[in-house]
Assembly symmetry: C2
Homo-oligomer: 216 residues x 2
Amino acid sequence: MTIEAKPLRRDAQRNRERIIAAAHEVFATRGFAATLDDVAHHAGVGVGTVYRRFPTKESLVEAVFTDRLEDMVTLAEEALAAESAWDGLVDFLRRAARLHAADRGLRDAALSMNEKHFTQVGEHMLPLIQQILDRAHAEGTLRPDTGLHDFPIIMAMVTELAQNSSACRPQLYERYLTLILDGLRARPGNSDLGPQLSEQDVQAVMRECVPPLKSR
Amino acid sequence: MTIEAKPLRRDAQRNRERIIAAAHEVFATRGFAATLDDVAHHAGVGVGTVYRRFPTKESLVEAVFTDRLEDMVTLAEEALAAESAWDGLVDFLRRAARLHAADRGLRDAALSMNEKHFTQVGEHMLPLIQQILDRAHAEGTLRPDTGLHDFPIIMAMVTELAQNSSACRPQLYERYLTLILDGLRARPGNSDLGPQLSEQDVQAVMRECVPPLKSR
DNA sequence: CAGAAGTTGAGGAACATCCTCCGCTTCGGC
DNA sequence: GCCGAAGCGGAGGATGTTCCTCAACTTCTG
């Protein structure tokens, strides 16, 4: 599956793993805004080593988060298995938010799912979420004027808040997620939300919500 | 009322006004993150002039936004005058969000209302908002487990989104504001939101939501 | 017209990235 | 063990940003 070019020397392999672990920690608190220099220091390794192993931040991010994102796929599958579609959806969002609140890097990764790195995971994930929503729509519990594209936006808002409150009230975001979930229920008397968004819109907005991975 | 120390020379006064106007423009797009150097250039004036007239960013911000915030007080008064408390509240939030979406500086100012500069405006504003909410609670339309402190947070989320989508879909935020408003209605079957937040919490979170005005 | 008030903007100080480079260390096949 | 290849470190150059001062100059106004 993986195209393993050359087996690394043993020490190099050890360092690679150290770097990934350190990157996970550093990204968890600073998100994609973290620096490769930062990662190097946390890994107890020279900057050059990091740059040699991961020439771009993108490649490091990919190495760190593809698995974490696959974990979220599992979460989505569990949501589909719940007997109540609504409860499945709510649970999924709550757990996802919890993970994202605890790991800002994962949050940034999840919101970058349409970006070239991670497209693969996106192709697993998005159809599952679509199914979750279809089921909830069919059940009549999720308001019909919402769709797939609303959820990245909602998660972006909620997890941004989670970040901003993490120092003083790490659970604060849950309150507002709950509020939004009540707003998402299909109910008589709901307001008119207007037209749904396009995929391009979401992608553009998500790019603004996540620090750029530029480098160079 | 205002402690006018010395009458400025006429050209100086003209420059002062130019600076304020330019600052308004610059803050409108970059928020408090804008630079005094930026403002100077937009005003067609040397940096030194800005620093002489407004030694701190804080003082400039105050000069620019106190009036704009007082405008929002008017908005709040209109909300209180509406016959339906709920409609008044909704209108108020929608209009406030519109203003904040169009002027990120105003948004940053509004979210800084507890900060020393602006406390004065805050003392006008907050009791009014409290009254709006009391009325809506009494009317039974606003869910009872919400309060004053929820609104800065909600506005912060919504206007942050407005900012992030301003380039591609400037009205996007309205959709999610509407969604949240539906979540704010008192309704049977609403979820449990848990305990309300304290004022300290809100202040701490707001400080994270707005770029620091440090200087020096 | 004198001198007070005001202006200017180059530029120094203080950061923050990003990433390269080359002398040195370590590995591991022989 | 030896030695060449692989790997490592981290100082430091390049670049960028922001803040703010100051000394030479200009413009008011009485």
